[in-house]
Amino acid sequence: MASVKMPQLGESITEGTIGKWLKQPGDQVKKYEGLVEIITDKVNAEVPAPLAGILKEIKVKEGTTVTVGTEIAVIEESMPATAAPTRPAPTATTEAVPSTPVGEGQGGGATTRLSPAVRALIEEHRITDAELSRIEGSGIGGRISKKDVEDFVAKRAQPATANGEQRQTAASLAATPAATPGTTIPLSPMRRAIATNMLKSKQTIPHAWTVAEVDMTNVVRFRQKAKDSFKLREGIDLTFVPIIVKAVVEGLKAVPVLNASWSEQGVVLHQDINIGVAVSVDDGLIVPVVHQADRMSISGLAKAIDDLAKRARAGKLGIPDVQGGTFTVNNPGTFGTILSYSIIAPPQAGILAMDAIVKRPVVVEGDAIAVRSMMNLCLSFDHRVLDGVSAARFLQGVRRWLEGFSEQVPLY
């Protein structure tokens, strides 16, 4: 018997939440095979089995958070395999064997590309559409690899009864519609993590909300002028985000109490300014962190954000990439919103939403009316940590910095 412990997934991590058990008690596990998904902040890490054997016992249920080092499962080490894996008799299933190879044009998943090897295995092991849809692809872009199918077949061949049960369930699911109208989307670990975090935030942090209206005309003009040469020189787009992040950094320098965390011992002021930038991904939202943003130029921020966003969408972020944020910037404005009430990511004290930049008639100096590019900056802050005055001072600082933007502001 060997015990599996909650691993330390990052330097500062002291606990982890069980996202999903990939194996159930009684399942055969191979060495290094994915055993359980652990959630920390918003990154999921798959913990591999330390040795081959049979999963005897799960000690910590899904959704439970335990400290690093806690025993979470027990694996019984296996003797060298003697019995050859038995192939399930085709008669054991009530489902018809598909007459055509499974794959594109079969409905279900979008365009699943199956390699020749995978197709051959599917035919050899008479894997049905329903079963195929249950195989989780471990390849690039979720591609089902040969190994995935082999693992599935090995698992399917394991406990005869569980196997029969499973297949029956799959069949009945396919055959009868759900009892209530509508469907249930299973919770992905990311969805679950977002839910937990948001709930915790709203339940523990007294949110206050305030908005500043910013004249972005100078920034818009500057960006319009600079973006083509920037793209040519740097290979990435110059968006509004790094400019706003720069303004936020300046604002936080002026109001350090917003770059802080609440604790019962006192308000913890953070030395570094680490800005989380919310990135929407396929199945939710992830907030990678630009560490020490106060040491970066606009160009440096643009590169860092571009890199993090790309890796976020590719699912290539590491744990350190999403840890240590001290303040968050959210950009719902790209989707046209004009007022956003964001939820603070604990243990931070604030989150700023950039809303859409829209041209509006505005009264300017000399009581003239001019067409200006206007944007709302919406700040949610932890009222335990600071009060409206500080929040307003912060927004004022950000607004002045942005409105005073000129070509003299260095990009580098």
Partner: protein
């Protein structure tokens, strides 16, 4: 068994063949008293004398021409081209005459000759001392091409080449000469031409290589194992005739293949290996066959930064193999 370097294994192979068969002789630039620029023939001049270890003029066409003439008259010459890069002046002799002699005479005559050529880069040899020539000569029917990567194979294939009835281009990678050490079986150790060798068993993916790249691939495989990826390494050993069966077998086994060579990419050996796999193992593939090769630039640069950029190395192989494993 004794641990030897590649260069020692080659020297020993020549020595044993010369001792075994009086018709075997060595000809090349500085192979005599000097013992060859890499000391491959060190001591052989003293042992066998000037009639069997012949210093040639600086003329590759002459070296090969003499060897062809001797071979057609019943001798078994080993012709050394000092650097594979210098083989160009002898190409007419090799391609038009040596490779086609048996065909031209309907098999009445054979040319049992070996052309030894130190090849490959990564030795700061720059343009004239780094080239890979296996694809160029592999294209020529009638010519056999071998490229051993270990001391045991270097010795065994040299012996097989000497005994072969046809011209064999024997490629010895300069960087492996003293870098790669390994057990060499004692006794008359002959490795058959045309047989690849699985140097490491694995199940997740296969790396196919030869020469120096074999050593790099084995190192990469070791690192992959630490990350839970089981990599098979197939050593081609012989470029021509290529071991189709072994290539197809490993492709069928793992379904994922990476071919590595330092020769230029276009129409390189990797392209041929990939074609063989596509023709014979398509239905077993789990990923596109991949290759990692030297780039299509005119020559190996001297600048060490550029040379590193040209040469595949363990890191590059590892990165590509991981890409394949993740596919």
């Amino acid at each position: 068994m004794a641990v030897k370097t590649v260069i020692e294994a080659i020297r020993e192979g020549m020595d044993e063949e010369m001792a075994r068969d009086e018709s075997v002789f060595l000809i090349g630039e500085d192979v005599g008293n000097r013992g060859g620029v890499f000391l491959a023939s060190d001591g052989l001049y003293k042992k066998y004398g000037e009639l069997r270890v012949i210093d040639s003029p600086l003329a590759e066409s002459c070296i090969i021409g003499v060897a062809i003439g001797a071979a057609v008259n019943g001798m078994r010459p080993i012709a050394e081209i000092q650097f594979a890069d210098f083989i160009a002046p002898a190409m007419n002799q090799i391609i038009q005459e040596a490779a086609r002699f048996s065909y031209r005479t309907a098999g009445d005559f054979n040319l049992p000759m070996v052309i030894r050529a130190p090849w490959g880069g990564g030795v700061h040899g720059a343009l004239y001392h780094s080239q890979s020539i296996e694809a160029t000569f592999g294209h020529i029917p009638g010519l056999k091409v071998v490229a051993p990567g270990t001391p045991a194979d270097a010795k065994g294939l040299l012996k097989a080449a000497v005994r072969d009835p046809d011209p064999v281009l024997y490629l010895e990678h300069k960087r492996t000469y003293r870098l790669v050490k390994g057990d060499v079986p004692t006794g008359d150790h002959v490795v058959p031409i045309g047989k690849a060798d699985v140097k490491r068993e694995g199940k997740d993916l296969t790396m196919i290589a030869y020469g120096l790249m074999l050593t790099y691939c084995l190192e990469a495989a070791e690192k992959l194992a630490a990350e839970g990826v089981s990599a098979e390494v197939l050593d081609l050993r012989t470029i021509k005739p290529i071991d189709q069966a072994a290539i197809v077998a490993t492709a069928r086994k793992t379904g994922k293949v990476l071919v590595v060579h330092e020769d230029n990419r276009f129409a390189g050996i990797a392209a041929e290996v990939m074609a063989i796999i596509m023709e014979n193992a398509f239905d077993a593939l789990d990923a596109p066959v991949m290759r990692l090769t030297g780039p299509d630039v005119p020559a190996m640069p001297f600048n060490h930064v550029l040379e590193d950029a040209f040469m595949p190395n363990v890191e590059k192989i590892l990165a590509k193999a991981k890409e394949l494993a993740a596919y």
